[in-house]
Symmetry: C2
Subunit: 163 residues, 2 copies
């Protein structure tokens, strides 16, 4: 089912409905209605699983190096045209689908920051890290036609940890 | 036509098609197909006009004060549920609709920064200003269920202009 949604979304079929997904996946529409209720819920489900656990949390011993690697990975991931098509479709389905596009990335940031707090006794807040790292990375990917490069994403870390 | 789209979008009707918009606006679908060709193009058109010229560019004599006012206005605007519904629908329509949600906000930032360059000989780049101001503001509005407050948006300016 997830593959059927991904294929339809990246083919830019303009009206994604449960019967269309069912036809692509070769199942009866009733099966989909019973499990998801609406395309919005199905898209949110696909986005949640796509954006959770997809990026490995680095552990280099240095917060700066961890964040640089992680930001570059997230930027690379969201610049992929299929991933981008899925994100835009999920956002178009409404708030639940839009929130699903963050997956577990805030938790990943929190884990790196908490490790630093244990190590050195201080670290930026998760809120600030989300603002300066995820904010620009998602903005460029979703709202422009030129997603950020990994090098650019790495450079965002100096906003959080001035050199 | 723009009002018909806005109403349908904020009512969260799940399949926005040109015939549906035509029925709401009381015109023949052919008229819409002739002018816009697709719902994606219509949504991009509505978003472009909605996000251009909607925020006044402040001119207080201080770049910091200008940016703080402007960031607070943009954050307030995108936190509006109807504006948010329009943005998510336009993003869901694809790249053209998504880009339209930036409207003329990058040009507005460029105008404030250029004024400062003339005044003091130095100013941050537009690119950096987009990353640290528009990035987090749009991220919180579009991708979370808690859009940023005006106070929070004002605070983002210290990322660009450390105190």
């Amino acid at each position: 089912m997830h593959r059927a949604v991904a294929e339809l979304v990246s083919a830019q079929e303009d009206t994604l409905t449960l019967p269309v997904v069912a036809a692509r996946a070769g199942v009866h529409p009733t099966t989909l209605y019973r499990r998801w209720g609406s395309v919005a819920e199905l898209l949110a489900d696909v986005a949640t699983s796509r954006f959770s656990g997809d990026v490995v949390v680095p552990d280099t011993g240095s917060l700066r190096a961890d964040l640089e690697r992680w930001a570059a990975s997230v930027a690379t991931d969201v610049a992929d045209p299929e991933v981008l098509a899925l994100m835009r479709a999920a956002i178009g389905a409404g708030e639940v689908g839009a929130c699903a596009c963050r997956g577990d990335r805030e938790e990943q940031l929190a884990a790196m920051l908490e490790r630093e707090r244990v190590r050195s006794g201080r670290a930026p807040t998760v809120e600030r890290a989300v603002d300066v790292l995820l904010g620009p990375i998602y903005f460029r990917a979703v709202l422009t036609d030129r997603p950020g490069t990994p090098e650019w994403a790495r450079g965002l870390v100096t906003l959080l940890l001035p050199e």
